[in-house]
Symmetry: D3
Subunit: 243 residues, 6 copies
Amino acid sequence: MTTRKDGRTTDQLRQVTIERGWSDQAEGSALISYGKTRVLCTASFTPGVPRWLTGKGRGWVTAEYAMLPRATNERSRRESVKGRIGGRTHEISRLIGRSLRAVVDTKALGENTIMIDCDVLQADGGTRTASITGAYVALADAIEWARGKGHVGKNSTPLIDSVSAVSVGIIDGEPMLDLAYVEDVRAETDMNVVVTGRGLFVEVQGTAEGAPFDRRELDSLLDLAVAGAAELGDIQRNALAAS
Amino acid sequence: MTTRKDGRTTDQLRQVTIERGWSDQAEGSALISYGKTRVLCTASFTPGVPRWLTGKGRGWVTAEYAMLPRATNERSRRESVKGRIGGRTHEISRLIGRSLRAVVDTKALGENTIMIDCDVLQADGGTRTASITGAYVALADAIEWARGKGHVGKNSTPLIDSVSAVSVGIIDGEPMLDLAYVEDVRAETDMNVVVTGRGLFVEVQGTAEGAPFDRRELDSLLDLAVAGAAELGDIQRNALAAS
Amino acid sequence: MTTRKDGRTTDQLRQVTIERGWSDQAEGSALISYGKTRVLCTASFTPGVPRWLTGKGRGWVTAEYAMLPRATNERSRRESVKGRIGGRTHEISRLIGRSLRAVVDTKALGENTIMIDCDVLQADGGTRTASITGAYVALADAIEWARGKGHVGKNSTPLIDSVSAVSVGIIDGEPMLDLAYVEDVRAETDMNVVVTGRGLFVEVQGTAEGAPFDRRELDSLLDLAVAGAAELGDIQRNALAAS
Amino acid sequence: MTTRKDGRTTDQLRQVTIERGWSDQAEGSALISYGKTRVLCTASFTPGVPRWLTGKGRGWVTAEYAMLPRATNERSRRESVKGRIGGRTHEISRLIGRSLRAVVDTKALGENTIMIDCDVLQADGGTRTASITGAYVALADAIEWARGKGHVGKNSTPLIDSVSAVSVGIIDGEPMLDLAYVEDVRAETDMNVVVTGRGLFVEVQGTAEGAPFDRRELDSLLDLAVAGAAELGDIQRNALAAS
Amino acid sequence: MTTRKDGRTTDQLRQVTIERGWSDQAEGSALISYGKTRVLCTASFTPGVPRWLTGKGRGWVTAEYAMLPRATNERSRRESVKGRIGGRTHEISRLIGRSLRAVVDTKALGENTIMIDCDVLQADGGTRTASITGAYVALADAIEWARGKGHVGKNSTPLIDSVSAVSVGIIDGEPMLDLAYVEDVRAETDMNVVVTGRGLFVEVQGTAEGAPFDRRELDSLLDLAVAGAAELGDIQRNALAAS
Amino acid sequence: MTTRKDGRTTDQLRQVTIERGWSDQAEGSALISYGKTRVLCTASFTPGVPRWLTGKGRGWVTAEYAMLPRATNERSRRESVKGRIGGRTHEISRLIGRSLRAVVDTKALGENTIMIDCDVLQADGGTRTASITGAYVALADAIEWARGKGHVGKNSTPLIDSVSAVSVGIIDGEPMLDLAYVEDVRAETDMNVVVTGRGLFVEVQGTAEGAPFDRRELDSLLDLAVAGAAELGDIQRNALAAS
């Protein structure tokens, strides 16, 4: 089996750690690392929903993703200084929001809003997938907080499943799990897969960066991703089990 | 077999028409319809490339997508008036650009830029997939124009394949091809698939709007999409064969 | 008499066509051509008025003008991408709105809003005048639609007159009607005239692009414009008479 | 003859004063008053022209108009705070620039730029016309300054004519000259006319605010405006004659 | 004692004049000069307070500062054209607002808002300090106006003290009062001091532009500033005493 | 002596820790804590200077400050989403930049740029002072990095002193050092003081939030700040001594 630059096998995740409750301010929070990629995920709970949802008896979960200017090897200009949010930022924010909503029963959440912020403190590939995996932990804690305060009923279960995400890609013809930045830029095909704890797909986003890919390649990437997501689910569970 | 609201079978495209050369101004253009969805695609050729590409002997293809305010059933505010481009617009513009670049040999294109504009005149679902299919035709014509003017060499073949796109989705548990707007809003899972003329994948973007989906569902959606894309490829070929 | 590049006499309009009801979505719509200039005009009807008008028993008609990036011979940057609307766009939007309001009895319209969108699909001079002429047709249809739905009373006549517009200019000392782009750039004086069906002036906007003009020149331009507007009024009437 | 609220006859200007050289910083400046309307006009001279004009041997004159937030009876929000310039501001800036360029021989000006700023310190109707009349004086002084510094040749005459502007309007059926704010809001028709020292038209912008107007009304407004502009020309000449 | 370029002694203010009631529109206004620095200060009174203050029985005073583009020796771009307000503008606006609020009893003001605008017509150093000194006069007049109209009670005294401001700095090792622009750019240390009529400090903002400063230098700068502010207080009193 | 809510004496700093080299990407970095306030400071080194400095043989140091949306107790809207940077952010960014430049010999730095980013991960008062103290450590490391790479000469000493900052304030009449958030909101007077390692002042920014302050109060605040800054200087030295 191929060995990678950082010594991993092709089906091996980087070291994943979740520092739960990193923030003293947020209702839920997690500092997650996928190797050198580090993302601070916070969940802010507010009673009430945006006006367009009011009175429908359902809650709202949304997300914003951003990167510190020197998270990357070359400093990038702040989006606040540019005065506009880039397409990539928008796209990832929307992806995180959709992924989390897929495991939330908004009826059970009641008319409450949870705002997820994923701020990349350091980037080394996989920032969007680490964001989703970490955001789930922050979300779970915010919901527990809300239950403790009585905003969510004792018998309500707003979380109907867990969710995690991982990238996969084909490099030199070989499918690999959880790409680091140096791998990501070399990948011919790059796929981000969001999977629930039960092993169902929430998002499958495959892109041919170089040559288009065939059905067989697609299948092996999905296999790798499903296995990786199962491991991530265990790590989430362990983090949430600790008190 | 299920019949749909508009009488189609589940594996049937809407009526697709391509009015090539709609514009008197652009180097390539096509007014494409997928049923009531109508998109004006233009390709603008400019010698030279953006500064960051200069001197590398490669060309550049990029795209912008937008919707007229009253393309939809309810008028939406213009993004120029809001002063910022929304996340969805950004996301689709990037998708169109990537899809076209997947079939372009930028070396063979030489240091030239082709800018694709996809403006949705009327929207009834599938605007992004119609944009890609139409944009390919505009792109092909712009490259022919450039060849005629000597910007692209007689023996260069910048287009290494064709590309088209179609949406598929699961409605009431049933996989369906080329969703109209009323179908799209009801779909549990929604997937946009971009396929080359040779049947390879460029993009696979599947999203669970309602319940997450399993591997078997994913497979039948891909089957439908590949068949639909083959039909679209024929329609593109016919349009380009006409003079 | 001078013959022009496209074979017209100095007092001749270009071929004007109005494709009424082009849009399946809008309450009123018209695709108008003045030669190669093509503008899609839609009228969006909404019950209710902006807050500052509420409770005064009067309706509101306003307009937005825009141009597709490749409507012109050289592609221009999208205003949505620039993040701000240019002065020319603002100026023309305001002109269209004022021109239409001049023939609307807002009391008879009741507390309803009609939003006109004029999107230039292809530009060859006279885009603002074509917009006004086409917008009137879309407006008339939207009002009929509203009458049919009961938003406007059976006996109310919100339209107190019709309105159309045409450009005139002096080229090589000769006054000419309905300037195409190549004429427009050469004109010493350029005037846009908005005239009602009864032959009264709504707007007279004359500008010396080169040498200032005298009273006699002003008078012959106005004569030409009034005659051209009468023809345009006939074309509008025919379009609206068809069902 | 009708007497107006402020005691003027219908063909009488308000008191017009020009305080030339108000600024210690600008190359040319004038604080102009039309009654209570007060505009500070400065002309900033810079050697060189914008890139798009470079090497063509011609100069450039352009203008920006703005209003202090409390120039008016009700404070308006600053455009810098809103983050965008309104349509009206754009429109007037463009009008001032065009009006001045109509009397400038840009060849004689050489590759130099003059930027005009018209900032309304107090507004009581006619701010755009006062701006043009005052800007001409600032422009003339900036050109003299440039001649003194050798930027403009001793024998060059960049100013081929003078230019001034005045509003006229029809109130209660009566044509009137130089409308104050209370008159302006009541006018059925409102026209801004820009006239050169030789009596030729640079701009004629007539707008029906209420009922459309006929040819006879248009003619009497033009008569009034031409006479008013002649008086303004005298006031400009006197201001420039003083040292 | 050192003599300065303009003949002043080190502890001497420039000529300070206050033209009270310069504006016909604002509830309070003052055109203040510190030498060639000229700032138009207006105070706009509105009954009611911003939403976040409603129902607390307190008023609100805030300020906006701006500079005309040609107030300075080289023309600067308008912030409205740039589409964003610069850091310096923001900082000074906030300083003016805080300085005025320090002498206002917002309870006594009642639920009313006073908006101060300080627009620099000409700049020669000390624009922020002149703005504060002039704004106080405009504010005082606006409060008198409000008392006259009954918005503020006969026995309420919203102004609990007066406030003025002056700059001080160290040039060639020598502390100096009220720096003109040519002095300001040469100062090693630059301090803006806001002092009440009773001689208490509202703001002390000292900045080492060159070498850091020691406690003894800080002390002599404060001495100079307190003496200068006392003189400014007299000038304000005289201006307000006149009717 | 008064004891504070968190048990400190009035002249006691919160626990201050500096985690040097927190980032794997930046040339210099420090994660600094003042109690619960945590700021990530990075220094990005780039050869070359902005255009306006080119060829003058001097370097450039500048800074940007920002806060994560959930750094505070209530989530605030991202400035990138608002599309504009607030006044407070601008003001603090400028303060940090000036403070660092006061201890940099830009000649010795050569034509190189160092960009400091201070991102507040958690806020509990004193974010601007912690930023300055942490930024100095990141700056020192980036300069050492540049020396190692040969961008800065072996014998050049761009850092001529160290710099740190601390807040002081008067609460219930009592001067206190290093205010936590709950103290800050209650302070009558609030002062941020930036002091060099040699004990000289770089910035003194005192503001009366409630009642204005007198000379004696100012003096005791300065005494407290100078002593606190000396302690911070020791902590910086220790952090930099460690390898």
